[in-house]
């Protein structure tokens, strides 16, 4: 947030430009409304990382990571305290999306699917220990948790059951979010993409 830019052309822009500074709250806001929209339609996915995805795609992994982090901090301090600790997961998602996008893994519908799987793995790997510490391995989503219960009942290790619980939920969510982000990003006017990319 405060260091000097390492390299202008690199995707790792650590200097917070004015454009990124206003992009981040917008991304957090998009996370929020996307989540509200999914809840309103009773979709089985959260969609709450859509803004983080878009921020990473527009302004790189650092912007995405900060968006994800702030998203959970604000959420934690205003609505649900425990979600603060999942800020680490959101940072991971932001970084993963940023790198994948910069490497061209968001350029076609097929590649997006691969990206979504990688992002879901990243998300599940980071979330699982948190789930175990705070919730004994559960996620709080009924059908994921029933899977968890079955696995634990069959004496599979908790971490494996918990990872499976989280991963099945994550894979569905991240595939949906990745495709939404892909479609939306493609439709952004070029002046907008350029503005957030070339920020000074």
């Amino acid at each position: 947030m405060k260091t000097e830019p390492i390299n202008r052309t690199s995707m790792w822009k650590f200097k917070l430009s004015a454009a990124t500074m206003t992009l981040i709250p917008a991304a957090v806001g998009i996370n929020y409304v996307a989540k509200a929209l999914a809840e309103g339609l009773k979709l089985p996915v959260w969609l709450g990382s859509l803004g983080t995805f878009l921020a990473s795609m527009l302004a790189g992994p650092v912007a995405g990571a900060i968006s994800g982090f702030i998203n959970n901090v604000i959420y934690g301090l205003t609505l649900s305290p425990i979600s603060t600790v999942y800020a680490i997961t959101s940072i991971g998602i932001g970084i993963a999306v940023g790198i994948l996008h910069a490497r061209g893994w968001f350029s076609s519908a097929k590649k997006v699917f691969v990206s979504a799987i990688i992002i879901a793995i990243v998300s599940a790997v980071i979330s699982t220990p948190l789930n175990v510490i705070f919730w004994g391995g559960q996620t709080g989503i009924a059908w994921g948790d029933s899977l968890f219960a079955v696995m634990v009942a069959n004496h599979l290790p908790v971490w494996l059951a918990s990872f499976t619980d989280e991963f099945v939920l994550d894979i569905l969510d991240k595939v949906c979010v990745a495709y939404l982000a892909f479609f939306i990003y493609r439709q952004l006017p070029q002046r907008m993409v350029r503005f957030f990319r070339d920020d000074k």
């Binding site: 004015a18 206003t22 002046r191 350029r194 000074k200």
Partner: protein, 278 residues
């Protein structure tokens, strides 16, 4: 004449990065400061781009390929951006986007620019009260900025631009969301502005003719006409697709002319032409 008292644009060309055609083509202007300049044009005429250049947004904030020179009162945004920026007040097209996004009340929003300049608290409260009164926002000072109507939001945007008492005021279509009474009040207010160079993009040509010292007509990226409202609207080319003001239309229908065989464009001139005929 003295460079410090002129607005000078020389061979100005602007092309946004990634675009094939230029948005501004070979703009040349040399005109005194301290005037109200009305900028008129249709879609893709380049008037908003010109505003961005005048405000220094291009090339300081939005990157573009730019050639030629631009100085106003001897200053250029390229030389000393901070000094140039403190001397300007800018009202952009989208008033809601102009709010800081971190203010509890209209009063806090207004104070923002002054806090940035390190102004003392008592000066801030005086100036806030003063511009709120000028823009008719006194009753809204304790409200949340996002609760304002479109027209009020626009007046707030104008108030934030004038609170630093800039020497140059640049406004891109500042009345688009105001109702007729609000618009009338705004243009009346504009006539009370002193010692300031005002650039205003607007499609309200009736009002522009009443307040502007000079009109610039833009068409397809070129500055095709400039001069006094009377001069410019008496010599419109149909290609530019710009209508004449109501005063002109009325006088033309009634054949009321001013000396020099031209039609009036403002109310006072109309009276003059009417008296000369009747």
């Amino acid at each position: 004449m003295d460079e410090d008292k002129r607005i000078v644009l020389e061979n100005l060309n602007v092309r946004y990065s990634g675009m094939e055609t230029s948005q501004l083509k070979n703009i040349n202007i040399n005109t005194p400061i301290g005037q109200i300049i009305g900028i008129v044009g249709n879609s893709h005429s380049g008037k908003s781009t010109l505003c961005r250049v005048l405000a220094g947004i291009i090339p300081k904030i939005i990157s573009a390929t730019i050639s030629g020179t631009y100085t106003i009162a001897g200053r250029s945004p390229m030389d000393d951006w901070t000094a140039f920026n403190t001397s300007t007040g800018v009202v952009l097209q989208n008033p809601a986007g102009q709010l800081s996004g971190l203010a509890d009340t209209v009063a806090d929003e207004l104070a923002f620019d002054l806090i940035n300049q390190g102004t003392s608290a008592d000066v801030i409260s005086k100036r806030v009260a003063n511009v709120a009164a000028q823009m008719g926002l006194t009753d809204q000072l304790r409200q949340k900025p996002e609760s304002l109507s479109g027209g009020q939001m626009q007046r707030l945007a104008i108030a934030t631009a004038i609170i630093t008492q800039p020497q140059i005021l640049i406004m891109d279509d500042p009345t688009s969301e105001m109702d007729p009474v609000g618009r009338q009040q705004f243009f009346h207010w504009l006539t009370t502005v002193k010692d300031t160079t005002v650039f205003i993009v607007s499609s309200e040509i009736d009002d522009l003719c009443e307040v502007a010292d000079s009109i610039w007509i833009m068409s397809e990226g070129e500055l095709v006409s400039q001069g006094s409202p009377q001069d410019v609207f008496n010599h419109l080319s149909p290609e530019w697709q710009i209508p004449t003001p109501t005063v002109y239309q009325m006088a033309e229908k009634m054949n009321w002319r001013l000396t020099g065989d031209v039609f009036p464009v403002a109310a006072e001139e109309l009276k003059e032409a009417f008296d000369a005929t009747n």
